[in-house]
Symmetry: C2
Subunit: 377 residues, 2 copies
């Protein structure tokens, strides 16, 4: 240590090179603008916009998030702002509309990606969101690629391994396969679904078993999320030879890949499958095509159906949990009610979890937080 030359001065010099690419014209040399700012039961949004004529706010908590906006008011230094009542605890997304153009909040570094869109988040603390923030102990998120012979290329997965996985090299873990909806990809459950945070918190609190969570890409034409720039394979995925091709790849390729390359317990009692919307359809298909593979089956906001014979196969296989969830305002609610009815009629013990609201990530986070503690017990 004593022999060190003083290089601190040089390191300090390098600090001036923080913004390497572009200047941000909207907040170059001004006093800091804080946005969003939660104070008590209100939240204030701010945007510096020197030459704008009309600035509005749009948020997913609004009654009409697909069109409603709130006007913002120009203040000192051309900082536009609006203060609103804090919505109920949840993770919301929002954006500004500057002279008709959607603009993200440059002050907010908490951003979700929904398909091709990046959106700032408003995280309102409370009981509903207590497992959505960072826990003390963190699992590892990785992106391995599996070779799919059925689809003809390698495909990217997201895999969560729980805290302690590295430190306990002889321990084996159960696995949850967690499937996204149409428009999503292998990062959807991580980015919008807060899967790593929810599992970290549930496991740290002793509420859920330490488990591996595998999040594949459910679009067979995609090797990976479109953000990676790999061209999509254009095929008629509805053609007979492709029937259930993704579900077959999941059960015949991804499950073996995971059980070979991760310390997974390769037994039905240690395999769960869950999915939202299109992924709920995949979940139901997998339970029908491979009734002996998963002892835990959780279709979320989905409306696939199953026949008496198919349900009998699940009963025979000894399914331990069938967790069906849907929002009462979901456009698929009737279908989920029908599946609940059929499961009851056919005598398959199951949970039918009905929540407020519709086809939203608010519900899917709630469902994961609700069913994960019921797995592998």
């Amino acid at each position: 240590m004593k022999r060190l030359l003083v290089i601190a001065a040089v390191a300090a010099l390098s600090l001036t090179a923080m913004a390497q690419e572009l200047n941000n014209f909207s907040f170059g040399r001004q006093a800091p603008v804080i946005s969003p700012e939660i104070q008590g039961d209100s939240v204030t949004f701010r945007l510096k916009a020197d030459y704008a004529t009309v600035v509005k706010l749009s948020g997913s908590w609004m009654p009409n998030p697909y069109g409603g906006t709130i006007d913002m008011v120009r203040g000192e230094n051309n900082v536009w702002s609006v203060k609103i009542a804090l919505p109920a605890p949840e993770i919301y997304t929002y954006n500004f509309v500057v002279d008709g153009v959607a603009v993200n909040d440059p002050q907010n570094i908490y951003v979700q990606r929904d398909g091709t869109r990046y959106l700032p988040m408003l995280i309102v603390p409370g009981e509903r969101t207590e497992n959505y923030g960072e826990a003390t102990q963190h699992g590892t998120v990785s992106h391995p690629w599996y070779d799919s012979k059925l689809l003809g290329y390698s495909r990217r997965l997201t895999v969560y391994t729980p805290y302690g996985y590295e430190a306990n090299p002889k321990k084996k873990y159960p696995v949850l396969y967690l499937l996204h909806g149409a428009g999503g990809d292998e990062e959807a459950w991580i980015s919008m679904g807060r899967t790593a945070q929810i599992l970290d918190n549930l496991i740290e609190k002793g509420l859920a078993e330490p488990m591996i969570v595998v999040m594949p890409n459910g679009n067979p034409g995609q090797q990976a999320a479109r953000t990676l720039g790999i061209p999509e394979k254009q095929m008629n995925w509805r053609a007979p030879e492709f029937q259930n091709v993704y579900v077959r790849s999941l059960c015949e390729e991804i499950v073996p890949f995971i059980e070979k390359n991760f310390r997974a317990i390769a037994k039905p009692a240690s395999r769960a499958i869950a999915g939202l919307s299109m992924g709920g359809g995949h979940t139901i298909s997998a339970s029908i095509l491979y009734p002996e593979m998963f002892d835990y089956i959780c279709p979320l906001s989905a409306a696939g159906q199953a026949s008496a014979e198919q349900i009998a196969a699940l009963k025979k296989a000894g399914v331990k949990l069938y967790f069906l969830a849907c929002g009462d305002a979901d456009f698929l609610f009737q279908g989920s009610q029908q599946l609940d009815k059929t499961l009851t009629e056919q005598g398959l013990d199951h949970v039918y979890f009905v929540s407020d609201g519709g086809h939203t990530w608010s519900n899917w986070r709630l469902y994961l937080n609700t069913f994960a503690p019921k797995l592998f017990k």
Copy 2:
């Protein structure tokens, strides 16, 4: 298969739920706007902005990227556009300026994160960028957390393992420790540096040895990138007890963590260290404090110095490659010239790689692409 009920119709219904959170006001129901569009030796940028008064384009290829802009012109359907000569092959970033507010391109899903800013990329194909796109075979990118006793908490790493790592469970690999600059974090080399793509391509072409690449977070107050929302630890990191604390954590905690949890060859001849700017300072510090740890040392765009005694220790340790790189317009260029001179005077065989340009990711991608093939050979 024959027993399946038809659930395709239900899955198709779910497709309508693609945009779950918000409508984008600027391109809700219009014909698709394409941006950026490369045609021959030109590129056109477009933005629909119905009510804007002035729309400009700012790009990192411009002579004055910290303030220069080009005016865009309003066209049919209020689509503003500008067509410019295609800049030389490289990855650039850009944004629009709508009535004074910086706006990302909603049509462009290729986005980099630079610190707290998300910026659309313009990727110009050519020889310079041929290793920056996706290869056929992909390594795995993961985010494990290591427990730092020196810093008092667990911290997030980014780790790249090469294609074949999973399929060859007995093979061990050399490791490159790759350090970011001030303002960066453990995702900087992945997002802006294209490390996974560059290594995938170099390895696939047989130009570089298959290697593990470890990208830590060089800010001791951060457990992880600020985007995760974990509050920074506020300490006087310049206090004597914290001198070189990150470099000590790297060499005394991260290197052992990697060599325990990954199939790494735990020998100096299989360890390389490289870093840009502040990370170049860390690289030089590590080589001075731990002269026998790394046989490959690559300070990039940095200006740390070393004494005769320190250089003698590296010679004695048998360093195999000392690769010093800097842009001739870099504000640290003089410092790098001084270090080159000292290394020459002290008789340490080294490469002094001088490129055009300054303190930019354009150079850091070039340097990685240049020195990675020289490692572990």
